[in-house]
């Protein structure tokens, strides 16, 4: 469950054809097979967050479609859940209540909810912190709660909007490793938006490199390096150089 198909997706803010409208996405198409990890790489303002918002059902596309297992995404829901950069944890709920929130919305009975919640709290390494509130946790721990909360509802598609951008460099690298570990234990189709080349290579099976606005897919790259990914590996460095050149081109175009 979780084959993502994006077909001829465009998004225009304001009325098409009039002055002042903004074309955020133009004719984006790509597919992510079930249980693959895909990164969308691009500069800020390339429409990558717009793409994610449409995939989450927060915004409708102007033309084209996003479908998961041939079911078009129309409204937000647990099937295609999102993890936010600022974690978006409910401040009035403790860790268990946050993780269990989606299960409660699904209408699961209390004892089942407790079992599943415990499983995911353990999985993200937060056992012992069940009763803590978000304001008592560090940034990295808050993002763990957000990951557990999203995984607990068993989404078909997991969307992540620069989830580690607010963390310091060491924590970010550690959380990336953690995410891979969690994802390998509970495979999901993941779409992660990032502007970090290293993050994209470290995590993904495929990378969609976006152009500057209007956002299009500049290149779709499959990454078949063995995990865990070694940053000093020759192919890793080669891919990194290649991605850097692609991104650099976009900056150059923008400057002119």
């Amino acid at each position: 469950m979780g084959h993502l198909a994006i077909k001829n997706l465009s998004k225009v803010y304001g009325d098409a054809g009039t002055t002042g409208n903004v074309v955020a996405l133009r004719d984006v198409s790509f597919e992510v097979p079930n249980h693959q990890f895909c990164a969308i790489l691009g500069h800020s303002g390339c429409g990558k967050t717009t793409l994610l918002n449409i995939a989450a059902g927060f915004e409708p596309p102007t033309t084209g479609s996003i479908a998961v297992d041939d079911v078009p995404v129309r409204v937000p829901g647990w099937q295609n859940t999102m993890i936010f950069q600022d974690y978006a944890l409910f401040p009035w709920m403790d860790v268990s209540q946050n993780v269990g929130f989606g299960l409660e919305m699904k209408g699961l009975p209390s004892h089942k909810r407790q079992d599943i919640t415990r499983h995911y709290v353990d999985l993200v390494g937060l056992a012992g912190f069940e009763d803590k509130f978000p304001h008592q946790l560090s940034g990295g721990m808050r993002q763990r709660v957000a990951i557990a909360r999203a995984l607990a509802v068993q989404p078909h598609l997991l969307l992540m909007d620069e989830p580690f951008a607010a963390l310091d460099a060491q924590n970010r690298s550690f959380m990336q490793d953690e995410l891979v570990r969690i994802w390998e234990r509970e495979p999901k189709t993941v779409v992660l938006v990032t502007h970090s080349i290293d993050e994209a290579i470290k995590l993904s099976d495929c990378i969609a490199v976006m152009t500057r606005r209007p956002g299009r897919v500049k290149q779709f790259i499959n990454v078949d390096l063995p995990r865990p990914r070694d940053e000093d590996n020759k192919s890793y460095l080669q891919l990194k150089r290649h991605l850097r050149a692609l991104i650099h081109e976009e900056v150059e175009v923008q400057r002119r």
């Binding site: 989450a56 059902g57 927060f58 937000p76 829901g77 647990w78 295609n80 859940t81 999102m82 936010f84 600022d86 978006a88 944890l89 409910f90 401040p91 009035w92 929130f101 989606g102 919305m105 699904k106 509130f133 978000p134 304001h135 909360r149 999203a150 509802v153």
Partner: protein, 223 residues
């Protein structure tokens, strides 16, 4: 001079006498009862404020009426309210209600509008239907601001209460100080005024402490 501004010792003596005779508590209880009754009705500002903050349509329909009524001071309603309700509890409570209603309403609206939009999106993305969104996210998220509104509302209501009792009551702290005036008992007036001030402070502190107890997660209330 001693009549216009009594000595602290006289005030203390009078206060002790009024406590001992039960007079002070009788009037205080009457005032508190009105404040509480008015609050029960004014609390309708909370669901209305949530509806106005959440649905633009409701806001657009209701807000113009509120904006016209709001600047009218509660005291300006006293003449009309006496004709409506006569002299007594209902009229007093109506004036207090007017003082409480708008601060609670406006703070509730602001509270709803200031909820982090990502919290709402996160809840939707976890499958929350609209009614759960309202009860679990919107109401909870705006509670700190609602409590601030209640604090301000109870304060304004308390002030309006005394004014209402000056004119249209035969019990209560407002009545007490006005009654004392007619007998030139400035010492009783000052005791009444101090009681009004102290009890106002107590109510405010109680709500603040309660807010901090109930919403330990709120940074706004913990300050």
């Amino acid at each position: 001079m001693a009549v216009l501004m009594p000595a602290p010792t006289t005030i203390a003596r009078t206060a002790a006498g009024m406590v001992a005779s039960g007079e002070l508590f009788f009037h205080l209880a009457a005032s508190l009862k009105r404040e509480a009754a008015a609050f029960m009705v004014a609390a309708t500002a909370i669901p209305l404020g949530i509806a106005m903050g959440w649905w633009r349509l409701v806001y657009n329909q209701v807000n113009p009426i509120m904006e016209i009524l709001r600047p009218i001071p509660p005291l300006a309603w006293i003449p009309l309210s006496i004709l409506w309700f006569g002299i007594g509890d209902a009229q007093n409570e109506f004036i207090i209600f007017l003082g409480m209603f708008f601060p609670i309403l406006i703070n509730t609206i602001v509270g709803v509008k200031n909820i982090d939009p990502n919290l709402v999106r996160a809840a939707r993305s976890l499958g929350a239907p609209e009614h759960k969104l309202l009860s679990r996210i919107v109401l909870k998220g705006s509670l700190p601001q609602i409590i601030t509104g209640v604090r301000i509302g109870l304060g304004v209501g308390w002030m309006a209460l005394v004014a209402a009792e000056l004119v249209g009551a035969n019990s209560g702290l407002g009545f007490l100080i006005n009654d004392a005036r007619s007998m030139l008992r400035t010492d009783s007036i000052v005791v009444g005024m101090l009681t009004i001030g102290l009890v106002g402070l107590l109510i405010d502190t109680a709500i603040r402490v309660l807010g901090r107890r109930l919403l330990p997660w709120s940074l706004a209330l913990s300050r």
